[in-house]
Symmetry: C2
Subunit: 243 residues, 2 copies
Amino acid sequence: MLPGYALRCRMNVLPPCLNSIKSEAPAAVRCEACPAPWMHCSVRKFQKGQYPFSQGDAQGYVYRVQSGGLTLFLSLANGRRQVVDFAFPGDLVGLGSHRQFQFTAQAITRTELRCIPRDELRLQSLKDARIASMLYETAAFQLEEAYDHILTAGQRGSEGKLAAFLLAMSRRNVHHGDDPAVVHLPMLRTDIADYLGLTAETVSRTFTNFKAQGLIKIVDQRHVRLIEPRSLVRLANAIAASG
Amino acid sequence: MLPGYALRCRMNVLPPCLNSIKSEAPAAVRCEACPAPWMHCSVRKFQKGQYPFSQGDAQGYVYRVQSGGLTLFLSLANGRRQVVDFAFPGDLVGLGSHRQFQFTAQAITRTELRCIPRDELRLQSLKDARIASMLYETAAFQLEEAYDHILTAGQRGSEGKLAAFLLAMSRRNVHHGDDPAVVHLPMLRTDIADYLGLTAETVSRTFTNFKAQGLIKIVDQRHVRLIEPRSLVRLANAIAASG
DNA sequence: CGTGTGTTTGACCAGTCTCAAGAGCCGTGG
DNA sequence: CCACGGCTCTTGAGACTGGTCAAACACACG
Protein backbone atom coordinates (compact mmCIF):
# COMPACT_ATOMS: atom_id res chain seq x y z
CA MET A 1 0.00 0.00 0.00
CA LEU A 2 1.59 3.22 1.02
CA PRO A 3 5.34 3.20 1.40
CA GLY A 4 5.42 2.94 5.14
CA TYR A 5 8.76 1.90 6.42
CA ALA A 6 11.93 2.86 8.12
CA LEU A 7 14.71 1.13 9.90
CA ARG A 8 15.43 0.79 13.53
CA CYS A 9 18.25 -1.22 14.93
CA ARG A 10 19.98 -2.45 17.98
CA MET A 11 23.22 -0.72 18.63
CA ASN A 12 25.19 -3.90 18.91
CA VAL A 13 24.72 -4.80 15.28
CA LEU A 14 26.16 -1.48 14.19
CA PRO A 15 29.65 -0.61 13.05
CA PRO A 16 32.18 0.13 15.78
CA CYS A 17 32.20 3.81 14.93
CA LEU A 18 28.55 4.03 15.88
CA ASN A 19 29.06 1.93 18.95
CA SER A 20 31.42 4.53 20.26
CA ILE A 21 28.49 6.93 20.37
CA LYS A 22 26.91 4.62 22.84
CA SER A 23 28.98 5.90 25.68
CA GLU A 24 28.35 9.46 26.69
CA ALA A 25 32.08 10.02 26.92
CA PRO A 26 33.39 12.33 24.18
CA ALA A 27 34.44 9.51 21.94
CA ALA A 28 37.81 8.41 23.14
CA VAL A 29 37.59 5.49 20.74
CA ARG A 30 37.65 6.02 17.01
CA CYS A 31 37.92 3.53 14.23
CA GLU A 32 39.65 4.49 11.04
CA ALA A 33 36.61 3.50 9.06
CA CYS A 34 34.50 6.24 10.57
CA PRO A 35 35.69 9.83 10.61
CA ALA A 36 34.63 12.55 12.95
CA PRO A 37 31.01 13.26 11.86
CA TRP A 38 29.42 10.86 14.31
CA MET A 39 30.96 12.73 17.15
CA HIS A 40 29.17 16.00 16.50
CA CYS A 41 25.81 14.44 17.25
CA SER A 42 23.62 16.62 19.40
CA VAL A 43 20.98 15.38 21.80
CA ARG A 44 17.38 16.61 21.81
CA LYS A 45 14.90 16.13 24.65
CA PHE A 46 11.17 15.54 24.31
CA GLN A 47 8.35 15.57 26.82
CA LYS A 48 5.85 12.75 27.12
CA GLY A 49 3.41 12.89 24.23
CA GLN A 50 5.56 15.08 21.98
CA TYR A 51 6.24 14.16 18.37
CA PRO A 52 9.95 14.16 17.50
CA PHE A 53 8.94 13.78 13.84
CA SER A 54 5.85 13.07 11.76
CA GLN A 55 5.28 11.12 8.59
CA GLY A 56 6.13 13.31 5.63
CA ASP A 57 8.71 15.40 7.45
CA ALA A 58 12.01 15.88 5.66
CA GLN A 59 14.43 13.44 7.17
CA GLY A 60 17.80 14.95 7.94
CA TYR A 61 18.82 12.72 10.81
CA VAL A 62 18.84 9.20 12.07
CA TYR A 63 17.91 9.10 15.72
CA ARG A 64 19.24 6.95 18.50
CA VAL A 65 17.13 6.61 21.61
CA GLN A 66 19.28 7.56 24.60
CA SER A 67 16.60 7.33 27.26
CA GLY A 68 12.83 7.00 27.39
CA GLY A 69 11.02 5.44 24.48
CA LEU A 70 9.09 6.05 21.26
CA THR A 71 5.92 4.74 19.69
CA LEU A 72 6.25 4.57 15.91
CA PHE A 73 2.94 4.59 14.07
CA LEU A 74 1.11 5.38 10.86
CA SER A 75 -1.98 7.55 10.85
CA LEU A 76 -4.69 6.10 8.65
CA ALA A 77 -7.34 7.95 6.70
CA ASN A 78 -10.15 6.62 8.88
CA GLY A 79 -8.62 8.08 12.01
CA ARG A 80 -7.15 4.80 13.22
CA ARG A 81 -3.49 4.24 13.88
CA GLN A 82 -1.26 1.30 13.14
CA VAL A 83 1.61 1.11 15.58
CA VAL A 84 4.55 -0.30 13.65
CA ASP A 85 7.07 -0.58 16.43
CA PHE A 86 8.34 0.68 19.74
CA ALA A 87 11.87 2.04 20.17
CA PHE A 88 13.81 1.92 23.42
CA PRO A 89 17.28 2.99 24.56
CA GLY A 90 19.88 1.70 22.12
CA ASP A 91 17.50 1.51 19.18
CA LEU A 92 18.06 3.51 16.02
CA VAL A 93 15.17 5.09 14.19
CA GLY A 94 15.06 6.46 10.68
CA LEU A 95 17.51 4.44 8.64
CA GLY A 96 16.56 3.70 5.06
CA SER A 97 16.81 5.59 1.80
CA HIS A 98 13.64 7.67 1.89
CA ARG A 99 13.83 11.44 1.89
CA GLN A 100 10.93 11.74 4.30
CA PHE A 101 9.91 9.99 7.45
CA GLN A 102 7.48 7.25 6.62
CA PHE A 103 5.78 7.28 9.99
CA THR A 104 5.29 9.37 13.09
CA ALA A 105 7.16 9.05 16.38
CA GLN A 106 5.65 9.94 19.72
CA ALA A 107 7.53 10.08 23.01
CA ILE A 108 6.16 7.53 25.48
CA THR A 109 7.81 9.25 28.41
CA ARG A 110 10.45 11.97 28.70
CA THR A 111 12.84 10.93 25.94
CA GLU A 112 16.32 11.87 24.78
CA LEU A 113 17.31 11.35 21.16
CA ARG A 114 20.77 11.63 19.66
CA CYS A 115 20.72 13.08 16.16
CA ILE A 116 23.01 11.46 13.58
CA PRO A 117 23.30 13.27 10.24
CA ARG A 118 21.72 11.00 7.69
CA ASP A 119 23.61 12.03 4.58
CA GLU A 120 27.00 11.46 6.13
CA LEU A 121 25.97 8.03 7.31
CA ARG A 122 24.94 7.27 3.77
CA LEU A 123 28.14 8.63 2.29
CA GLN A 124 30.24 6.56 4.64
CA SER A 125 28.29 3.45 3.80
CA LEU A 126 29.02 3.94 0.12
CA LYS A 127 32.73 4.34 0.80
CA ASP A 128 33.20 1.60 3.32
CA ALA A 129 31.84 -1.88 2.59
CA ARG A 130 32.00 -2.79 6.26
CA ILE A 131 29.60 -0.03 7.19
CA ALA A 132 27.27 -0.83 4.32
CA SER A 133 27.44 -4.47 5.26
CA MET A 134 26.59 -3.65 8.84
CA LEU A 135 23.66 -1.52 7.71
CA TYR A 136 22.51 -4.47 5.66
CA GLU A 137 22.68 -6.75 8.67
CA THR A 138 20.80 -4.13 10.61
CA ALA A 139 18.07 -3.97 8.03
CA ALA A 140 17.89 -7.76 8.03
CA PHE A 141 17.50 -7.65 11.79
CA GLN A 142 14.71 -5.11 11.39
CA LEU A 143 13.06 -7.37 8.90
CA GLU A 144 13.24 -10.25 11.31
CA GLU A 145 11.38 -8.17 13.85
CA ALA A 146 8.85 -7.04 11.26
CA TYR A 147 8.04 -10.65 10.35
CA ASP A 148 7.77 -11.41 14.02
CA HIS A 149 5.25 -8.59 14.27
CA ILE A 150 3.28 -10.02 11.33
CA LEU A 151 3.27 -13.33 13.11
CA THR A 152 2.13 -11.80 16.37
CA ALA A 153 -0.57 -9.65 14.80
CA GLY A 154 -1.64 -12.58 12.62
CA GLN A 155 -2.47 -14.67 15.67
CA ARG A 156 -6.10 -15.54 16.05
CA GLY A 157 -7.61 -14.35 19.27
CA SER A 158 -6.62 -11.72 21.76
CA GLU A 159 -4.92 -14.16 24.12
CA GLY A 160 -2.45 -15.36 21.52
CA LYS A 161 -1.65 -11.82 20.45
CA LEU A 162 -1.09 -10.46 23.92
CA ALA A 163 0.89 -13.51 25.05
CA ALA A 164 3.18 -13.13 22.03
CA PHE A 165 3.56 -9.44 22.76
CA LEU A 166 4.48 -10.01 26.41
CA LEU A 167 7.05 -12.62 25.47
CA ALA A 168 8.54 -10.32 22.85
CA MET A 169 8.83 -7.51 25.37
CA SER A 170 10.37 -9.94 27.83
CA ARG A 171 13.02 -10.82 25.28
CA ARG A 172 13.76 -7.15 24.82
CA ASN A 173 14.29 -6.94 28.55
CA VAL A 174 16.85 -9.70 28.40
CA HIS A 175 18.53 -7.81 25.60
CA HIS A 176 18.92 -4.85 27.93
CA GLY A 177 20.13 -7.00 30.78
CA ASP A 178 16.90 -6.78 32.79
CA ASP A 179 14.86 -9.47 34.48
CA PRO A 180 12.96 -11.40 31.79
CA ALA A 181 10.18 -12.23 34.26
CA VAL A 182 9.20 -8.61 34.95
CA VAL A 183 8.04 -6.92 31.77
CA HIS A 184 8.09 -3.16 31.60
CA LEU A 185 5.26 -1.68 29.52
CA PRO A 186 5.75 2.09 29.45
CA MET A 187 3.35 2.57 26.53
CA LEU A 188 -0.40 3.11 26.74
CA ARG A 189 -2.90 0.28 26.44
CA THR A 190 -4.09 2.04 23.31
CA ASP A 191 -0.64 1.71 21.79
CA ILE A 192 -0.49 -1.99 22.58
CA ALA A 193 -3.93 -2.35 21.03
CA ASP A 194 -2.95 -0.49 17.86
CA TYR A 195 0.18 -2.60 17.68
CA LEU A 196 -1.73 -5.87 17.90
CA GLY A 197 -4.80 -4.90 15.91
CA LEU A 198 -7.12 -4.97 18.91
CA THR A 199 -8.99 -2.37 20.95
CA ALA A 200 -7.77 -1.01 24.26
CA GLU A 201 -10.77 -2.60 25.97
CA THR A 202 -9.90 -6.05 24.68
CA VAL A 203 -6.28 -5.62 25.74
CA SER A 204 -7.40 -4.67 29.21
CA ARG A 205 -9.85 -7.56 29.43
CA THR A 206 -7.18 -10.01 28.29
CA PHE A 207 -4.77 -8.76 30.94
CA THR A 208 -7.44 -9.34 33.56
CA ASN A 209 -8.07 -12.72 32.02
CA PHE A 210 -4.39 -13.72 32.29
CA LYS A 211 -4.30 -12.51 35.85
CA ALA A 212 -7.36 -14.61 36.74
CA GLN A 213 -5.71 -17.66 35.16
CA GLY A 214 -2.60 -17.07 37.24
CA LEU A 215 -0.41 -16.61 34.16
CA ILE A 216 0.75 -13.13 35.12
CA LYS A 217 0.75 -10.82 38.08
CA ILE A 218 0.13 -7.13 37.55
CA VAL A 219 2.73 -5.37 39.67
CA ASP A 220 1.48 -1.94 38.70
CA GLN A 221 0.02 -0.41 35.57
CA ARG A 222 3.40 -0.39 33.85
CA HIS A 223 4.91 -3.63 35.13
CA VAL A 224 3.76 -7.21 34.63
CA ARG A 225 5.35 -10.27 36.19
CA LEU A 226 5.22 -13.43 34.09
CA ILE A 227 4.24 -16.31 36.39
CA GLU A 228 3.68 -19.06 33.84
CA PRO A 229 5.79 -18.19 30.80
CA ARG A 230 5.38 -21.70 29.42
CA SER A 231 1.63 -21.30 29.37
CA LEU A 232 2.04 -17.99 27.60
CA VAL A 233 4.27 -19.66 25.03
CA ARG A 234 1.56 -22.24 24.49
CA LEU A 235 -1.03 -19.51 23.98
CA ALA A 236 1.24 -17.64 21.60
CA ASN A 237 1.61 -20.71 19.47
CA ALA A 238 3.63 -18.76 16.99
CA ILE A 239 6.35 -21.29 17.42
CA ALA A 240 7.75 -22.64 14.23
CA ALA A 241 6.98 -26.33 14.03
CA SER A 242 10.42 -27.39 12.92
CA GLY A 243 10.56 -30.12 10.31
CA MET B 1 9.22 -14.43 18.86
CA LEU B 2 10.96 -16.96 16.73
CA PRO B 3 13.52 -15.64 14.30
CA GLY B 4 11.34 -15.82 11.24
CA TYR B 5 12.71 -13.79 8.42
CA ALA B 6 14.46 -13.75 5.13
CA LEU B 7 14.87 -11.36 2.32
CA ARG B 8 13.27 -11.21 -1.04
CA CYS B 9 13.82 -8.46 -3.49
CA ARG B 10 12.90 -7.02 -6.79
CA MET B 11 15.57 -7.46 -9.39
CA ASN B 12 15.70 -3.81 -10.29
CA VAL B 13 17.08 -2.79 -6.95
CA LEU B 14 19.96 -5.20 -7.28
CA PRO B 15 23.50 -4.60 -8.45
CA PRO B 16 24.06 -4.63 -12.20
CA CYS B 17 25.89 -7.92 -12.03
CA LEU B 18 22.76 -9.60 -10.76
CA ASN B 19 20.61 -7.82 -13.27
CA SER B 20 22.53 -9.48 -16.02
CA ILE B 21 21.18 -12.79 -14.77
CA LYS B 22 17.75 -11.52 -15.59
CA SER B 23 18.06 -12.26 -19.26
CA GLU B 24 18.24 -15.91 -20.15
CA ALA B 25 21.10 -15.11 -22.53
CA PRO B 26 24.43 -16.50 -21.32
CA ALA B 27 25.52 -13.29 -19.70
CA ALA B 28 26.92 -11.18 -22.43
CA VAL B 29 27.03 -8.28 -20.04
CA ARG B 30 29.41 -8.26 -17.11
CA CYS B 31 30.27 -5.50 -14.75
CA GLU B 32 33.73 -5.25 -13.26
CA ALA B 33 32.28 -5.20 -9.76
CA CYS B 34 30.96 -8.72 -10.05
CA PRO B 35 33.18 -11.57 -11.16
CA ALA B 36 32.11 -14.76 -12.80
CA PRO B 37 30.33 -16.63 -9.95
CA TRP B 38 26.87 -15.32 -10.76
CA MET B 39 27.09 -16.79 -14.19
CA HIS B 40 27.38 -20.38 -13.06
CA CYS B 41 23.94 -20.34 -11.57
CA SER B 42 21.89 -23.39 -12.36
CA VAL B 43 18.13 -23.49 -12.71
CA ARG B 44 15.90 -25.94 -10.85
CA LYS B 45 12.29 -26.74 -11.73
CA PHE B 46 9.50 -27.50 -9.29
CA GLN B 47 6.01 -28.87 -9.76
CA LYS B 48 2.94 -27.23 -8.28
CA GLY B 49 2.81 -27.91 -4.55
CA GLN B 50 6.45 -28.89 -4.18
CA TYR B 51 8.65 -27.35 -1.50
CA PRO B 52 11.90 -25.89 -2.86
CA PHE B 53 13.05 -25.50 0.75
CA SER B 54 11.66 -25.74 4.25
CA GLN B 55 12.29 -23.79 7.42
CA GLY B 56 15.37 -25.17 9.12
CA ASP B 57 17.04 -26.35 5.92
CA ALA B 58 20.67 -25.37 5.50
CA GLN B 59 20.72 -22.40 3.20
CA GLY B 60 23.34 -22.66 0.50
CA TYR B 61 21.69 -20.56 -2.14
CA VAL B 62 19.72 -17.43 -2.78
CA TYR B 63 16.94 -18.12 -5.25
CA ARG B 64 15.58 -15.97 -8.00
CA VAL B 65 12.14 -16.79 -9.36
CA GLN B 66 12.42 -17.21 -13.13
CA SER B 67 8.84 -18.29 -13.78
CA GLY B 68 5.86 -19.39 -11.74
CA GLY B 69 5.58 -18.27 -8.13
CA LEU B 70 6.17 -19.17 -4.50
CA THR B 71 4.21 -18.95 -1.28
CA LEU B 72 6.51 -18.23 1.66
CA PHE B 73 5.10 -19.26 5.00
CA LEU B 74 5.82 -20.26 8.57
CA SER B 75 4.34 -23.40 10.06
CA LEU B 76 3.04 -22.78 13.54
CA ALA B 77 2.89 -25.23 16.41
CA ASN B 78 -0.91 -25.32 16.37
CA GLY B 79 -0.99 -26.46 12.77
CA ARG B 80 -1.82 -23.08 11.33
CA ARG B 81 0.30 -21.28 8.81
CA GLN B 82 1.30 -17.65 8.50
CA VAL B 83 1.98 -16.70 4.93
CA VAL B 84 4.74 -14.11 5.03
CA ASP B 85 4.94 -13.22 1.38
CA PHE B 86 4.49 -14.31 -2.20
CA ALA B 87 7.36 -14.33 -4.68
CA PHE B 88 6.93 -13.88 -8.43
CA PRO B 89 9.26 -13.71 -11.43
CA GLY B 90 12.07 -11.28 -10.74
CA ASP B 91 11.89 -11.66 -6.97
CA LEU B 92 14.82 -12.94 -4.92
CA VAL B 93 14.28 -15.26 -1.98
CA GLY B 94 16.66 -16.17 0.80
CA LEU B 95 18.88 -13.15 1.35
CA GLY B 96 19.91 -12.42 4.90
CA SER B 97 22.63 -13.69 7.17
CA HIS B 98 21.00 -16.77 8.66
CA ARG B 99 22.51 -20.18 8.08
CA GLN B 100 19.13 -21.81 7.71
CA PHE B 101 15.96 -20.92 5.90
CA GLN B 102 13.62 -19.19 8.27
CA PHE B 103 10.46 -20.22 6.45
CA THR B 104 9.14 -22.68 3.94
CA ALA B 105 8.58 -22.09 0.24
CA GLN B 106 5.91 -23.86 -1.78
CA ALA B 107 5.52 -23.67 -5.54
CA ILE B 108 2.18 -22.10 -6.48
CA THR B 109 2.40 -23.42 -10.04
CA ARG B 110 5.18 -25.00 -12.05
CA THR B 111 8.13 -22.85 -11.01
CA GLU B 112 11.70 -22.29 -12.13
CA LEU B 113 14.29 -21.04 -9.65
CA ARG B 114 17.79 -19.86 -10.38
CA CYS B 115 20.24 -20.81 -7.66
CA ILE B 116 22.79 -18.17 -6.62
CA PRO B 117 25.55 -19.37 -4.27
CA ARG B 118 24.98 -17.56 -1.02
CA ASP B 119 28.50 -17.47 0.34
CA GLU B 120 29.94 -15.87 -2.76
CA LEU B 121 27.25 -13.23 -2.72
CA ARG B 122 28.21 -12.48 0.85
CA LEU B 123 31.92 -12.39 0.10
CA GLN B 124 31.35 -10.00 -2.76
CA SER B 125 29.25 -7.74 -0.59
CA LEU B 126 32.04 -7.50 1.95
CA LYS B 127 34.57 -6.58 -0.71
CA ASP B 128 32.48 -4.17 -2.73
CA ALA B 129 30.63 -1.39 -0.96
CA ARG B 130 28.35 -0.92 -3.94
CA ILE B 131 27.05 -4.46 -3.69
CA ALA B 132 26.64 -4.24 0.07
CA SER B 133 24.91 -0.92 -0.37
CA MET B 134 22.56 -2.42 -2.93
CA LEU B 135 21.80 -5.32 -0.62
CA TYR B 136 21.02 -2.77 2.07
CA GLU B 137 18.63 -0.97 -0.24
CA THR B 138 17.10 -4.30 -1.07
CA ALA B 139 16.57 -5.14 2.56
CA ALA B 140 15.05 -1.70 3.10
CA PHE B 141 12.69 -2.39 0.23
CA GLN B 142 11.77 -5.70 1.81
CA LEU B 143 11.10 -3.94 5.05
CA GLU B 144 8.84 -1.47 3.28
CA GLU B 145 6.80 -4.38 2.01
CA ALA B 146 6.76 -6.04 5.42
CA TYR B 147 5.36 -2.89 7.03
CA ASP B 148 2.84 -2.72 4.26
CA HIS B 149 1.86 -6.26 5.14
CA ILE B 150 1.49 -5.33 8.80
CA LEU B 151 -0.73 -2.49 7.73
CA THR B 152 -2.83 -4.71 5.51
CA ALA B 153 -3.17 -7.51 8.03
CA GLY B 154 -3.79 -4.97 10.78
CA GLN B 155 -6.90 -3.68 9.01
CA ARG B 156 -10.08 -4.26 10.89
CA GLY B 157 -12.62 -6.27 8.97
CA SER B 158 -12.32 -8.66 6.07
CA GLU B 159 -13.29 -6.08 3.44
CA GLY B 160 -10.44 -3.76 4.33
CA LYS B 161 -7.94 -6.58 4.34
CA LEU B 162 -8.97 -8.04 1.03
CA ALA B 163 -9.26 -4.64 -0.64
CA ALA B 164 -5.75 -3.77 0.50
CA PHE B 165 -4.50 -7.10 -0.76
CA LEU B 166 -6.09 -6.67 -4.19
CA LEU B 167 -4.62 -3.19 -4.55
CA ALA B 168 -1.19 -4.45 -3.53
CA MET B 169 -1.35 -7.23 -6.09
CA SER B 170 -2.50 -4.71 -8.67
CA ARG B 171 0.57 -2.61 -7.97
CA ARG B 172 2.73 -5.68 -8.45
CA ASN B 173 1.11 -6.13 -11.82
CA VAL B 174 2.06 -2.60 -12.82
CA HIS B 175 5.60 -3.39 -11.69
CA HIS B 176 5.66 -6.27 -14.16
CA GLY B 177 4.16 -4.18 -16.93
CA ASP B 178 0.73 -5.81 -16.79
CA ASP B 179 -2.73 -4.28 -16.70
CA PRO B 180 -3.34 -2.87 -13.20
CA ALA B 181 -7.09 -3.44 -13.56
CA VAL B 182 -6.85 -7.21 -14.01
CA VAL B 183 -5.29 -8.81 -10.96
CA HIS B 184 -3.76 -12.24 -11.31
CA LEU B 185 -4.14 -14.41 -8.22
CA PRO B 186 -2.33 -17.68 -8.88
CA MET B 187 -2.28 -18.67 -5.19
CA LEU B 188 -4.96 -20.57 -3.31
CA ARG B 189 -7.70 -18.87 -1.34
CA THR B 190 -6.19 -20.57 1.68
CA ASP B 191 -2.91 -18.80 1.02
CA ILE B 192 -4.62 -15.43 0.74
CA ALA B 193 -6.44 -16.20 3.97
CA ASP B 194 -3.25 -17.18 5.80
CA TYR B 195 -1.61 -14.04 4.46
CA LEU B 196 -4.37 -11.78 5.75
CA GLY B 197 -5.15 -13.60 8.97
CA LEU B 198 -8.58 -14.77 7.80
CA THR B 199 -10.12 -18.09 6.83
CA ALA B 200 -10.58 -19.29 3.27
CA GLU B 201 -14.35 -19.13 3.74
CA THR B 202 -14.26 -15.49 4.75
CA VAL B 203 -12.01 -14.65 1.82
CA SER B 204 -14.44 -16.35 -0.50
CA ARG B 205 -17.44 -14.60 1.03
CA THR B 206 -15.74 -11.23 0.78
CA PHE B 207 -14.98 -11.79 -2.90
CA THR B 208 -18.64 -12.57 -3.47
CA ASN B 209 -19.51 -9.52 -1.45
CA PHE B 210 -17.32 -7.26 -3.58
CA LYS B 211 -18.81 -8.76 -6.72
CA ALA B 212 -22.34 -8.09 -5.49
CA GLN B 213 -21.38 -4.48 -4.74
CA GLY B 214 -20.02 -4.10 -8.23
CA LEU B 215 -16.52 -3.35 -7.02
CA ILE B 216 -14.90 -6.22 -8.86
CA LYS B 217 -15.69 -8.71 -11.59
CA ILE B 218 -14.47 -12.26 -11.26
CA VAL B 219 -13.07 -13.16 -14.66
CA ASP B 220 -12.16 -16.68 -13.56
CA GLN B 221 -10.93 -18.22 -10.34
CA ARG B 222 -7.46 -16.78 -10.86
CA HIS B 223 -8.27 -13.40 -12.35
CA VAL B 224 -10.18 -10.48 -10.88
CA ARG B 225 -11.02 -7.26 -12.67
CA LEU B 226 -11.11 -4.15 -10.50
CA ILE B 227 -14.21 -2.15 -11.48
CA GLU B 228 -14.21 0.47 -8.73
CA PRO B 229 -10.63 0.82 -7.53
CA ARG B 230 -11.45 4.06 -5.74
CA SER B 231 -14.06 2.30 -3.64
CA LEU B 232 -11.53 -0.38 -2.84
CA VAL B 233 -9.07 2.30 -1.78
CA ARG B 234 -11.72 3.72 0.50
CA LEU B 235 -12.35 0.31 2.03
CA ALA B 236 -8.65 -0.29 2.48
CA ASN B 237 -8.33 2.91 4.43
CA ALA B 238 -4.71 2.19 5.04
CA ILE B 239 -3.88 5.47 3.45
CA ALA B 240 -1.57 7.61 5.43
CA ALA B 241 -3.41 10.72 6.46
CA SER B 242 -0.66 13.15 5.56
CA GLY B 243 -0.10 16.04 7.90
C1' DC C 1 -15.95 -39.36 -17.56
C1' DG C 2 -14.85 -40.13 -12.75
C1' DT C 3 -11.96 -38.64 -8.86
C1' DG C 4 -9.79 -35.37 -5.96
C1' DT C 5 -8.90 -30.85 -4.86
C1' DG C 6 -10.29 -26.31 -4.39
C1' DT C 7 -14.10 -23.07 -3.91
C1' DT C 8 -18.53 -21.39 -2.73
C1' DT C 9 -22.54 -21.13 0.18
C1' DG C 10 -25.32 -21.84 4.42
C1' DA C 11 -26.41 -22.06 9.50
C1' DC C 12 -24.84 -21.54 13.96
C1' DC C 13 -21.90 -19.88 17.57
C1' DA C 14 -17.87 -17.77 19.89
C1' DG C 15 -15.29 -13.79 20.23
C1' DT C 16 -14.40 -9.05 19.54
C1' DC C 17 -16.03 -4.30 18.81
C1' DT C 18 -18.93 -0.58 20.20
C1' DC C 19 -20.97 2.29 23.37
C1' DA C 20 -21.27 3.62 28.08
C1' DA C 21 -20.20 4.12 32.79
C1' DG C 22 -17.32 3.62 36.81
C1' DA C 23 -12.61 3.22 39.20
C1' DG C 24 -7.72 4.34 39.65
C1' DC C 25 -3.77 7.22 39.10
C1' DC C 26 -1.24 11.62 38.79
C1' DG C 27 -0.22 16.37 38.50
C1' DT C 28 -1.89 20.78 39.71
C1' DG C 29 -3.35 24.26 42.66
C1' DG C 30 -5.39 25.83 46.75
C1' DC D 1 -1.56 18.35 53.12
C1' DC D 2 -5.76 17.65 50.77
C1' DA D 3 -9.11 18.48 46.97
C1' DC D 4 -9.83 18.81 42.29
C1' DG D 5 -9.59 17.74 37.31
C1' DG D 6 -8.01 15.14 33.55
C1' DC D 7 -6.47 11.13 31.63
C1' DT D 8 -5.99 6.19 31.65
C1' DC D 9 -7.62 1.93 32.71
C1' DT D 10 -11.17 -1.32 33.86
C1' DT D 11 -15.66 -3.38 33.69
C1' DG D 12 -20.28 -4.16 31.77
C1' DA D 13 -24.12 -5.18 28.25
C1' DG D 14 -25.57 -5.64 23.53
C1' DA D 15 -24.69 -5.83 18.43
C1' DC D 16 -22.21 -7.77 14.83
C1' DT D 17 -18.44 -9.69 12.42
C1' DG D 18 -15.86 -13.60 11.41
C1' DG D 19 -14.82 -18.56 12.78
C1' DT D 20 -16.39 -23.34 12.68
C1' DC D 21 -18.65 -27.21 10.84
C1' DA D 22 -20.98 -29.19 7.04
C1' DA D 23 -22.54 -29.75 2.41
C1' DA D 24 -22.99 -28.61 -2.47
C1' DC D 25 -20.61 -26.98 -6.42
C1' DA D 26 -16.74 -26.09 -9.97
C1' DC D 27 -12.71 -27.25 -11.94
C1' DA D 28 -8.39 -29.75 -13.29
C1' DC D 29 -6.30 -34.01 -13.88
C1' DG D 30 -5.66 -38.50 -15.33
